[in-house]
């Protein structure tokens, strides 16, 4: 027998510290799920608010549902397929078996990102092939119309999960098969069993522990996976992990803490049940297992009751999934898939639109214009309406990716101020309906700088080393540098761009930048973690709500003013619904609600003019004129700002190269 408690206090301490290390962040997460405030580092009092909110949040509930569904389906399929495969491998000659096992190990040994990327490429290639095939089939007959455009979605996500789950099942079933007495099957057959009976009554019971532990490992892997899902799910089937990733870029809503706490507690309860039961069995059978299998004690004797518990737990999960399914299953045939930026709409508008029209809105977000472009190009998304910025619209039009709009279906287009029509990216007004406009400027914390900031040079100033957040987007970052140097922000002169790039590079070398961020800016500026950042006017006003020390300036050298506009992709299958959505959003009421929520100026002339009155009515106090002027920059500020225009292909490539060089 092994020595018990041979450990000294020091050894114990190491274990305790390791435990603490593993659990500290989790405890913090759980604690802050009960926080009354939104912050994840400032305690504002105990509240169950987020647990109540959670069930209202469609995005989170849907992703939980997708996660559970894909994990359960993938586990069931992978367990069955893996078990048969393992039995098949067992029946092979050693050489063949080893070769196949090596291939089987590939997904496990490969980095997740390689598996994800390679599967993504496979799907893309298949979709392209399918598109050609479907087009050909549709062209010579009209009985069956095949969809020509497939995108990543739940199906591809499921395939990917099955793919990386099967190896774990094989790996835990294989050893059990090898431990099995080879004569058992023969004996059973000698005793009159048919081969099938022998299979079900002898082989399966013998390897059952392996099957169960394989299934549990597979399920854990599925639930925990992020990277492979990220590359194979597109945006329509977001798992919880993907939703969280989207949020970590801005602010993780405490609702996420709440749902994670719930899932975590459920797992603890399940495991506790299993463990209590197992201890019970052990103390009765005096049989000490030394299995390393963590979840699954080997149930040699009297294990039946425990499996009932496991089954009950599994059933509970299924029920939960079904519940969520029915909860969110107010489905209708009319759908519109919208992709926009994070926190860029008053979400009540979505519900309102759904109630009015009966069209279901799939609202998704992308990180930046460039990321949106990649997503569409990779076939990662089946968006109908997108809301890119001016220069990206120009590029999409140039590459023939946008559909011409039928403005007769969008009467509210007339409400848009002429100032925002016929701009350089869409001179003939064929493709776009403006959504918002605004300026780019510097946001700074007045308590952390010595004097008010007026110039872009602050973004490159050594004085603020470690205090500056640079925007993680080549176009805007180089714009700041170009302005600072006095060049045109739409320049194609590589010398000027190179010079601007050097400015950023030098600043980076000198340690001016704390980080390169996009929406992470919110949390960092609100929390006083950085002094200076460049970002968008509307977002500044959102931050101001949470930190009064922040100030905003459109630097004296000039800046960019932008228009984000709604457009419809050529590949869209829901053109009519898309037009209805655009019309709804372009309306005055929607614009007012949106402006109030996201603080970006509306291109709807009526709404923009009415906003101060709307604000006063809503909050009982007049709107600060300064705030209004930051949101809707007055003409004298706009006079020094310029729109981005779409750059030629070579310049875009040059931007790209510069930006990647910076990261090295």
């Amino acid at each position: 027998m092994r020595q018990r408690s041979a450990n000294s206090a020091g050894n114990r301490l190491l274990m305790i510290l390791t435990g603490l290390f593993l659990y500290a962040p989790i405890i913090i997460l759980i604690v802050f799920s009960f926080n009354a405030g939104t912050s994840s580092s400032v305690w504002k009092g105990f509240s169950l608010h987020w647990y109540a909110q959670l069930f209202q949040n469609r995005l989170i509930m849907h992703s939980v549902y997708i996660t559970l569904l894909v994990s359960l389906l993938a586990t069931v399929i992978a367990t069955i397929a893996g078990t048969f495969a393992a039995i098949g491998f067992y029946g092979m000659r050693r050489k063949a078996r080893n070769g196949l096992l090596a291939v089987n190990n590939i997904p496990m040994m490969n980095a997740d990102i390689v598996t994800g990327v390679s599967l993504c490429l496979l799907f893309v290639v298949f979709f392209n092939g399918w598109g050609a095939f479907a087009g050909w089939v549709n062209s010579w007959q009209s009985v069956i119309v095949l969809p020509e455009r497939l995108t990543l979605g739940f199906g591809t996500l499921l395939i990917a999960h099955i793919c990386f789950n099967i190896p774990y099942v094989i790996l835990s079933v294989g050893p059990k098969l090898r431990q099995m007495d080879r004569n058992l099957v023969d004996a059973a057959q000698d005793l009159g069993c048919t081969w099938m009976q022998a299979f079900w009554k002898v082989i399966i019971p013998e390897i059952k522990p392996g099957i169960i532990s394989g299934a549990l490992t597979a399920f854990t892997m599925s639930i925990d996976d992020f990277i492979i899902s990220y590359f194979t799910a597109g945006t329509s089937a977001s798992t919880l992990a993907m939703t969280i990733y989207g949020m970590t870029k801005k602010r993780v809503s405490p609702e996420i803490n709440a749902i994670s706490t719930l899932l975590f507690v459920t797992v603890i309860l399940l495991l506790a049940l299993i463990n209590i039961r197992e201890n019970h069995i052990q103390s009765h059978s005096h049989h000490h297992h030394r299995e390393a299998a963590v979840h699954t004690p080997a149930p040699r004797k009297k294990g039946g009751g425990m499996w009932k518990k496991v089954a009950a737990g599994g059933l509970a999960c299924v029920l939960l999934a079904v519940l969520i399914f029915t909860g969110s299953a107010a489905r209708s045939d009319r759908v519109v898939n919208v992709c926009s930026w994070g926190e860029y709409i008053d979400e009540d508008l979505i519900t309102q639109f759904e109630e009015e029209t009966g069209i279901r809105v799939n609202y998704q977000t992308a990180e930046s214009n460039e990321a949106l472009y990649s997503l569409i190009k990779m076939g990662g998304a089946d968006f109908d309406v997108i809301v890119p910025s001016d220069y990206m619209i120009g590029r999409l039009i140039e590459e023939g990716m946008l559909a011409e709009l039928d403005y007769s279906a969008i009467p509210n287009y007339d409400l848009i101020d002429d100032q925002y029509k016929g701009l350089s990216y869409d001179p003939e007004n064929k493709y776009t309906v403006p959504y918002t406009w605004g300026t780019v400027g510097i946001i700074y914390n007045t308590t952390m700088v010595s004097e008010p900031i007026t110039s872009w040079s602050a973004m490159f100033d050594e004085q603020y080393a470690g205090q500056v957040l640079m925007i993680n987007n080549s176009r805007d970052a180089l714009m700041a540098a170009l302005c600072c140097l006095g060049y045109d922000i739409n320049t194609t002169d590589e010398g000027q761009l190179e010079e601007a790039f050097q400015l950023i590079c030098d600043a980076k070398e000198k340690g001016v930048y704390q980080a390169f961020v996009m929406d992470e800016i919110f949390g960092k500026m609100e929390g006083g973690n950085a002094a200076i950042a460049m970002y968008y006017a509307g977002d500044y006003l959102t931050m101001l709500d949470n930190n009064e020390d922040l100030a905003y300036v459109v630097p004296e050298e000039g800046s960019n003013w932008f228009v984000d506009a709604m457009c419809v992709l050529k590949s869209s299958q829901h053109q009519d619904e898309a037009a209805e959505w655009i019309n709804f959003i372009a309306g005055t009421d929607a614009n007012l609600a949106n402006m109030d929520y996201i603080w970006y100026a509306s291109p709807n002339a009526e709404a923009l003019a009415e906003y101060p009155a709307y604000y006063e009515e809503e909050y009982g106090e007049p709107l600060d004129e300064e705030i209004y002027n930051i949101m809707a920059a007055p003409p004298e500020v706009l006079a020094r700002c310029e729109l981005y225009i779409n750059l030629p292909q070579e310049t875009l490539k040059f931007y790209n190269d510069l930006w990647t060089r910076l990261g090295i």
Binding site: S5, A6, P25, F32, S41, M92, V103, V125, A371, W659
Partner: protein, 284 residues
């Protein structure tokens, strides 16, 4: 009987051909093609620019793996000497964090490590920062911990430590104790027993632990982005950027993935030579 059984594997063999082998072949094709469908080596040539990223990724992943080993081995070893029910509970506790999404746990580290984060608030309260300022004559308001390479390594260690502990533990716990007793009877002291018996016998677990920590560390992109502040590009970020991020270039992305895969495979082959003759790597 044997032949009958092997038929069960046929569907899976087909599946593997489509979803395991074909994707890798397609990746290879992509890596050797340009955007217009022609064959080219330019993706690999271009990769030379990113040598620094390769270097940084491998460096950070190696450091993280080493730290995991330094913590994980003693923990597994001491753990195996505890009582059976303690061991079982401890194993569950080590696996349990995996049920809380790793992005969320990493995000939690962000709130801990921020300049105004929980740790700095704590240091402020207990006067550690003031003390440090007095000792060194500096004028710090906080310790900058986030957005550094150290924070990225911490994130890797935190997320992948269980993958080091589990395989090592599962090997050590199966050690035949009579071997240790025999060694002692033959006059070996504790250090010798450890060096000559326990360590060699636990090597398969160590090797598989190293692989299971190193591979995800070298290819991570979420951790570096969240804790590294995007200033220190890692391989995973580079690849992600070519596919779904700001720089659309799947050909280059495929080439980088391919090279990374090859380097990792070579590393693992070399490592498995160390463990030659030992049992096949132990997973989970």
């Amino acid at each position: 009987m044997k032949n009958k059984l092997s038929r069960f594997a046929v569907p899976y063999v087909v599946w593997m051909a489509i979803f395991v082998v074909a994707p890798i072949l397609i990746m290879v094709l992509y890596a050797f093609s340009n955007g217009e469908g022609g064959a080219t080596l330019s993706n690999f040539v271009q990769m030379g620019d990113y040598a620094a990223v390769f270097g940084r990724s491998f460096k950070l992943a190696l450091i993280a793996t080493a730290i995991c080993l330094l913590i994980g081995y003693p923990v597994s070893y001491y753990l195996s000497r505890e009582g059976a029910s303690f061991q079982r509970t401890a194993m569950v506790l080590i696996m349990l964090p995996m049920w809380m999404n790793f992005l969320l746990r990493t995000y939690s580290w962000m709130t801990i490590l921020e300049n105004n984060g929980l740790l700095n608030q704590l240091f402020q309260k207990i006067g550690l920062i003031a003390l440090y300022n007095q000792l060194t004559g500096s004028n710090l308001e906080y310790f900058s911990m986030i957005n550094t390479q150290g924070a990225v390594v911490l994130g890797m260690v935190y997320n992948y430590l269980p993958f080091m502990i589990l395989p090592i533990y599962s090997v050590i716990v199966k050690l035949d104790y009579s071997l240790l007793e025999a060694a002692r009877d033959l006059g070996a002291n504790n250090v010798t027993v450890f060096r000559k018996v326990i360590l060699p016998l636990s090597l398969p677990g160590v090797l598989s632990g190293i692989t299971m920590v190193f591979v995800p560390s070298v290819s991570t992109f979420a951790i570096s982005r969240m804790l590294g502040g995007g200033t220190e590009l890692l391989l995973g970020d580079l690849i992600e950027r070519q596919f779904l991020g700001g720089a659309y270039n799947p050909q280059l992305g495929a080439a980088i993935s391919l090279v990374m895969m090859i380097i990792v495979v070579i590393c693992m082959l070399v490592m498995n030579r160390f463990g030659e003759g030992e049992e096949q790597a132990v997973m989970l």
